[in-house]
Symmetry: C2
Subunit: 312 residues, 2 copies
Amino acid sequence: MTVEVLTMGRIGVDVYPLQVGVSLREVETFGKYLGGSATNVAVAASRLGRRAAVITRTGADPFGAFLHDALRSYGVDDRYVTEVPHLPTPVTFCEIRPPDDFPLYFYRHPKAPDLEIRPEELDLPAIERAGLFWATVTGLSQEPSRSAHHAAWAARARRHPTVLDLDWRPMFWPDPKAAADEVRRALPHVTVAVGNVDEVEVATGARDPRAAAKALLAAGVRLAIVKQGGEGVLGVTADEEVEVPPVPVEVVNGLGAGDAFGGALCHGLLSGWPLERTLRFANAAGAIVAGRLACAPAMPYAHEVEAVLADG
Amino acid sequence: MTVEVLTMGRIGVDVYPLQVGVSLREVETFGKYLGGSATNVAVAASRLGRRAAVITRTGADPFGAFLHDALRSYGVDDRYVTEVPHLPTPVTFCEIRPPDDFPLYFYRHPKAPDLEIRPEELDLPAIERAGLFWATVTGLSQEPSRSAHHAAWAARARRHPTVLDLDWRPMFWPDPKAAADEVRRALPHVTVAVGNVDEVEVATGARDPRAAAKALLAAGVRLAIVKQGGEGVLGVTADEEVEVPPVPVEVVNGLGAGDAFGGALCHGLLSGWPLERTLRFANAAGAIVAGRLACAPAMPYAHEVEAVLADG
């Protein structure tokens, strides 16, 4: 069966505190969870009923085996998740300090296996056929992953929806300009770009949401989405500009909310919904995850999102 | 006050499973503990009443702050523990699969801060004056740590006891020969060498405990100690050969037992005990830790070791 949502990018083990509101200096115990942005988007789409798969790589170690187990438990197809010998599966620690401080500590050295995705190992027909193809800027930070992304986009031939998550993590890049250069090379190959205000600024140089969205459209996308946090979400196409307000939420853990938004965005785009409905739905999905402690396990089912929308 | 036991080498956060007998694939939760061999030896010596300090380095991050807190909580002087900017504090995962399988998964890339110990930053008079100076082969695996070890030994001028822990971790070296070459350069500067059968084989080429001990003496040490696991411990000097049997123990977690042995060895050497008493005491200390789940928190007090010896 054709995959509906095919993502490509990061995977890792999130080693997250079981105590909230304290730093890693004080936290005493941790749980382990499936993590990595592109992976979480696939989980979020699966929870919403979409056949999802992720293209990524792990270490050849017990944590890698855990990630396969976890993907399957969420109904995400793991056939494109392969092992890289001699590189450890990445782990990520975080601090959960609501409402707005969720620092991440990545252990992705000497190199993350997911940056060893190789063009010659891709299932290009599957990428071409997938209902939606999702990739992230982090995947452009190193070779051979960068070339693999361009090979995937060449196969995809700008079939809509082809989404670029502007996901910007300074620690993965020598400087913002290097990331901006790669985003500029990538945008002509995708049809949707999505990012928060910091991310669209790196991508376009513009921090103003409308100016940034226009710059993304000018670079070739059909739909530009700017997540403005407390200001809501802006979606812009050639014909339309939609801004939806935030869903009020008591934030427990902001991590994963963006990926929940992403998975819901995939669901809305594949459903052919009007832009406003898609953005409202994605906003609500993000708010649900922000109000929960976990990331991947917290991804909402469609009825949960609808309930939040009905309440609003 | 002069430090009695001054160690130099690894430090990190041990992120250890709270479930026993399962792989990292299955484990659900973790605790966090002070770890790193040279650090554990200082903790073990402190538990036995010795004024202990460790020369090492952490990242400039919350895990580094935790390590300072933990050292102080164990009464280990942390004045020689400094921060390295831009390198993460290492974390180590393990699997606890008694009786004999305790694999470690090190996250010490791009480089462990403790391998950034620099010769020019050492307190050489303190190293010279310390009652006992302890270093490990891992500290010789990279520069500038390697040069720092030789600078420390030059200051120490072979004052007894100057101990080299033959601590051999294949993942820290390009190949065994590289480690063997560095051990050969180090042995003329120390007065005591201690290792298990695998470690003395890397150091000397000989796997037979007596042959290895003789080779270590020929290379310049006064006392060679070979830990033979279930066969007990062999100690050899120019005048004396002592073999003590193992202390029977139901192994819960073998990790840390060698460091407990090391801390107790320091205590015996500083106490001027006969070699046999020192080895029996160290053996019992190691057995106590092997019978406990934790590493650093499990290091025994002297009365606990004496109780085990009295029982035997």
